[in-house]
Symmetry: C2
């Protein structure tokens, strides 16, 4: 568990105010998403009732999740002086959550993940429908194809909702610039990620950690925490100084969050993660954790990793072998140390944030849940 | 060849004015696209030089093409009184062309098309790079994954450019509503298209033509001609009456255009189409042409189509068998008749359009090239 520096505890009154406001925001967020998808239901129905499963897939996925991005955007907005429960902050939150759903839908195709949040992933849902209906041709390809289209629809809807924020998100604003940059960076980061997998563990292993940390930064950290917080702030008119202070808090937080995710993907309990044990190993994910093992693990460790990582048929024994290598090479300890140092940096920056105490209490709670989680 | 009704020929002076203005627009369009992608190059370089192939794929694809959508948007803009060569019309054109590129990138993965415009398709480019570099894991899956990401990037860039049109494209405008609806409809239409393929030729063949025409309308016609023309008009402030007149011209034009495409996909000359002969048959495309053959062709025709359509290994003899069935069943003649009737409706509506004579001359030339093409 990462060391979280002892900062002055928020007053219980601030915590309780933040919790109540956040619960109200969550309700508005869910309502706005439902209303928006209902209007889309009408658009798709006009085309054909048979097209509705595409929207249902988006709906089922986007109604779940922790809402971390939307909540960060909300407190970024509030911390910059935005009005409580304002529609702009609600819509920006829905846009971020829809973007996340789109990324997950396509990610699951790319990673060949059949499960998501304990149920079948979107492309898998379509290939199961194909099987159950005894349709023709290749059901797996149909699933991927429908998943590509569902992700595309979700990506377009994310942006449609973002533009509905109106004037503060219009062309030329800081918020629009952040939203645009976020999308390009995520896609670039994801490309680097799949490139790293195919280039293979033997490619310049001494630079593996540098590359893995860059991928983590662009594919995950900036997008999960830094950009959402900054986006909310920018919508409320935050100046450059506040946005920079937000980054000093949110970027290390996002890095710690994703590193925790990487550790859970190898060592996590399937009961709490909702994914099979060691799933990241079977998928061949080239995480910072693996990069440390490649750098620090010696010849045998590298050979075993090269042999086993990304083997879809990796069994429990194989998972155990890789887990031992990752522990014995010092990779787990190095990753935990990195999580600790990022966490410390994030909490120190949080303390220095020039925001009201309710927003700070809310951000502190979000930060704790991000780095202390077990799923 | 479709009968094109003899409308009063445009004056040669109007034709020449339209041609010059259109050439100037094309130059601005290409310049705006290059400038925009150069700014994106900087964003991706900040992430990593290794991410640049993703943008190069978008660049290579989007710099080609007939520019039909952009040109229709331009003359829709001009016909509604928009200023010549205005930046708003240029940016809307770039946004439409980038959207088309995104759709093609994902379409080629879905259709398993290895070629596009005579060269390798985007996903194929990435799987070839994988092969040439002797990378690890499944090169075909890497190609598809990179193609998914390149299409996503292109989709996001399309919207980024559309929002850069500014106030006339802001939330709540008619132009934004058209842009949003276009995207949702295309994705719904594409889903119906892949659904039709897997449901198979034996599913309610008597309704096959109805379904195929609906798919054609949403996946292709509205998106290729109706929405771009209306979008340009809306950006220039066209009223509902003009937009309705635009639809009466552009929707049948788009239907004729796509039906011609379907005929070329089966009977076209590979030398001019840039695709292997009968490629649509190998891909199993469920076009209106095929639907007519299923409806009108009798038991044997249905059995042969069910057996051969969508067979990736279909050879020249197999192509010839299907071509004969399509001709003998009357499907080719029925499709040509439909092309003629749509073409006539489009040209009649063009004559009645309340636009200036230069715009009408330009639209007439575009309409001719759309329905008379051989590639």
């Amino acid at each position: 568990m990462a060391n979280i520096p002892s900062t002055p505890a928020p007053r219980s009154q601030d915590i309780s105010t933040a919790e109540q406001e956040q619960a109200a925001y969550r309700t508005l967020l869910a309502g706005e998403l439902e209303d928006f998808l209902a209007t889309q239901h009408a658009v798709l129905s006009d085309v054909s009732e048979e097209a509705l499963p595409l929207l249902e897939a988006v709906h089922n996925l986007s109604r779940g999740g922790k809402r971390l991005r939307a909540l960060l955007a909300y407190w970024g907005w509030r911390g910059a002086g935005g009005a409580p429960l304002d529609t702009a902050a609600v819509r920006a939150g829905v846009a971020l959550e829809l973007f996340q759903s789109a990324a997950l839908i396509h990610d699951d195709i790319i990673d060949r993940s059949d499960t998501r949040r304990g149920g079948p992933s979107v492309h898998r849902t379509f290939s199961l429908a194909h099987r159950d209906a005894n349709w023709h041709l290749d059901g797996s390809h149909f699933g991927s194809s429908a998943g590509i289209l569902a992700g595309d629809l979700c990506l377009a809807l994310s942006e449609e909702m973002f533009s509905a924020v109106g004037v503060p998100a219009a062309h030329g604003t800081t918020a629009r610039r952040i939203f645009n940059r976020m999308r390009t960076e995520v896609m670039a980061g994801q490309y680097l990620d799949i490139l790293e997998e195919v280039v293979g563990p033997s490619h310049e292993p001494e630079r593996a950690v540098v590359r893995a940390r860059n991928i983590l930064r662009y594919k995950a950290a900036k997008y999960t925490t830094e950009h959402p917080l900054a986006l909310g702030g920018a919508l409320a008119g935050a100046n450059e100084e506040l946005l920079a202070a937000y980054s000093r808090f949110a970027l290390p937080l996002g890095e710690a969050f994703q590193l925790r995710d990487d550790v859970l993907g190898v060592f996590g309990d399937p009961q709490t993660t909702g994914k099979p044990a060691g799933d990241d190993l079977r998928e061949g994910k080239r995480t910072v954790l693996i990069a440390y093992a490649l750098c620090g693990g010696g010849e045998t460790a590298r050979r075993e990793i090269t042999l086993r990582l990304g083997d879809p048929g990796l069994d429990d024994d194989g998972v155990q072998v890789l887990r031992s290598i990752i522990e014995d090479s010092g990779a787990l300890a190095a990753t935990e140390a990195l999580i600790s140092s990022h966490t410390e940096a994030a909490f120190a920056a949080l303390e220095a944030l020039p925001v009201d105490e309710v927003s700070r209490a809310a951000l502190e709670a979000l930060a704790h849940s991000a780095v202390r989680r077990s799923s």
